[in-house]
Every structure is written in C-alpha cells, then in structure tokens.
Amino acid sequence: MFRKLLLPLLLALVAGCATPPGNMIPQPASSFPADALVTQRGVLTVRGRQFTLNGYLATSATGGQRLIVTENFGNVLADVLVKRDGTVFVIRSGRAFKREWVRRFVAADLQCIFGESPRMDCPGRQLSETHFVIERRRYKLDLQIVETRPGPQPAELFDESRKLTP
C-alpha cells in the first residue's frame, strides 16, 4: 500500500521539479531577441478597477533590462533598470507607482516575463507567445507584447551610475 502511494508521489515531485505549477508563468519569454526594444500594452486591475499602461522595454545581452512605464498620454509612471545580476535600480517613480512598489512588483513582473531564468514567484499564465497575465494578491496585470524591434540599445540605458537610486 505504501509503495502504491509512494510511486505517484515521486512522479508528482519529479513533475513538479520539471515544470512550475499550473498557475505560474512557465518560464521567461526566451523567444525575444537579447538586444531589442519591446513595446507592451497592459491593463492593470486593482480592486476591480482597470488602468491602461504602455511599457517600453530595452534589453541588452550585456547590460540588462530597462523598462519605462507610461500612462495613456505619455506620463512616465515608472522607470526601472534590472541588471544582468538581478540588481534593481528604480530610476523614476511617482504618486501612482511608489518607489518601493516599482522595486517589488514592476521589477518582479518584468523578470517573470523577460528574465533569463525561471522564477517561482510568478503567479499567472501565458495565454500566447505575446500575451501574459500576472495575478498577485493585490492586482492583476494583463500584458501584451505589441511590437519588438531587434537591435542594440544605447549603452546609457543600462548605466546605473546615471542618477539612479539603488
């Protein structure tokens, strides 16, 4: 009897190691170029209310990732740099997205979708190659990648020495 229980348990454990739980984004979107400018459109739902966002992500194989989030008419809500070693630098924040919020959530969501290695704190799902949903306790982010322009991005984008607050 014990052996009958043990076998499925082991299989489940092995499967669990191989793939993340069903309600997690499986793994970062590795299909994107290492050097590119990626435009995103997002709908953020907080307490049942929805806000639309634009995201502009510059990626560099050597420098890391720089994400600028704006509202409909261009106001910058968040600006964050994630270095290749995972260090997060919040460059700009505001009343809507506070600095700590940008660090804890915007940077984390960025790494969930575009990071180089799988994370275990990415609750959500991937609906298509370009459509992701992240669902955390306080919010839901529905994100679509609407444009990808391959090519190297300016090195200054990934220079944390430029008026950054680590």
């Binding site: 929805q50 639309t52 502009y56 261009g74 529905d142 679509q144 609407v146 444009e147 991005q153 300016p154």
Partner: protein, 231 residues
C-alpha cells in the same frame, strides 16, 4: 490628468499640412485676438475627423516611440480617441459618461475604469473647447503666441507648479490663419516630449450610427469608409 486635459486643445484642431518657408518666429504682444479668432472658427463646426501620429521622444531611446490613431468629435459633446497601432484602444466620452475599450486576442473588452470621474472631467473640458470656449485655457495656462509667415505657435505654460513638474509647456502649432492645427508638442522638464501630428482632417462629416456608442462602438474601418468621400 491635466496633461490629458490639454489634449482638449486638439478639439480645435484640423490638420492641413501646408508647405512654407520657416522664417524665425516673432512673438505676438497680445494673444487675445488670435484666441478669439480660434473660438469664432471652432464654434461653427459640427464634427471633426482626424488621423494622428503620436511620437513619444525619450532622450534615452534612439528612435521615437510611435503610435497612430484617429480622433473624432461630434457635437454637442461626443468624442472618440482611438489608438489603432501598435495596439488598439478606444476612449469614448460625452458630458455624462466615459468608456474605454481594449482589444485583446481579437476581441474588444470594455474596461472598468479606475478614475471615470477624472476622464469625465477631461471630456467636459474637451466639449467646452469644441464649442470654442477657451476660458478654461487661460485660467490654467499662461499663453503666448508667436508667428511667422507659415506658422502660428501657441505656447501654453501651466500655472500650477505641480503640473509644471510634469509638463513644462505645450506648443500648439497652427496654420497662420489659425484655421488648422498641424501638431501639438508636450514638453517635459527633463527634455522628453510627446509630439502629435495630424493629417487627413475632415470637417462637418456625418458619422455613422455607433461611432460614439459606449457599449459597442462601431469599428473604425466602417467610420473611415463613411468619411472617405468627404473632401
């Protein structure tokens, strides 16, 4: 949101590109006559159809971030601002209500707006603009005007310090007779800017039913087809 409000200026806009020599702009001592002229010209319009290209120029990026869309105005108080590329989004408003739709996986989804009252306020102000009432502008902005032979530029500087922290100035570039706006530039303190360039203006068009429907807005392709015959 006040920044969005200045988009209302666009309601005064039309978009006819007229090539001209770029001589130096000269400041106009008293902008009131020009503003009154704008009011007079806009108050007679019943509807406006515009296509636009919006360029977000961030100093850090090599190229501007572009989007395209259409803006429709219908009297007495209807507005539709639609982005068609690289994503699809529709914002609809009148004096009573506002609505926003986002397209995902081939379907339009109506959003539960986070700040409907703020958007409604923007729409109300836009309606006032469409009726040629520019009083709101002068209460919120310090306005100066400069001109040359081919261009009239209204420069609006926010009076509110908090607004200036986000928007240092707004430039409305118009035809010299103030009959049409060519582009609007929103300058930010750090040097970044957003430029909205207009084209394919149609005035006093009859929009098809559903154009401003806040439950199921008519597809933009049908609207474009309906206005395509208007000179």
């Amino acid at each position: 949101m006040r920044r969005s409000f200045v988009i209302g200026v666009l309601l005064l806009a039309t978009a006819r590109f007229a090539p001209g020599e770029e001589s130096p702009l000269q400041p106009v001592a008293d902008p009131q006559p020009l503003l009154q002229d704008i009011q007079r010209k806009m108050s007679s319009l019943t509807s406006v159809y515009l296509e636009f290209t919006q360029e977000r120029q961030l100093k850090l990026f090599v190229e501007p971030l572009k989007s395209e869309g259409v803006m429709l105005i219908g009297r007495p108080d209807q507005i539709r601002w639609e982005t068609t590329s690289p994503y699809q989004s529709i914002l609809l408003g009148n004096q009573k209500t506002v609505a926003q739709f986002e397209r995902a996986d081939g379907e339009w989804n109506k959003l539960k707006l986070g700040f409907p009252q703020m958007l409604k306020r923007v729409m109300e102000q836009m309606t006032l603009m469409n009726q040629g009432k520019l009083d709101a502008l002068t209460s919120d902005f310090t306005i100066s005007v400069s001109t040359n032979r081919s261009l009239a530029v209204l420069t609006l500087v926010p009076k509110d310090e908090n607004v200036r922290a986000m928007l240092s100035s707004l430039e409305v570039k118009m035809q010299p007779d103030s009959s049409a706006t060519r582009e609007v530039v929103m300058n930010e303190p750090g040097g970044d800017l957003t430029r909205i360039v207009f084209r394919r203006e149609r005035r006093d068009v009859k929009f098809p039913p559903g154009t401003f429907d806040q439950t199921k807005p008519l597809d933009v392709a049908a609207i474009k087809a309906a206005v395509s015959d208007v000179p």
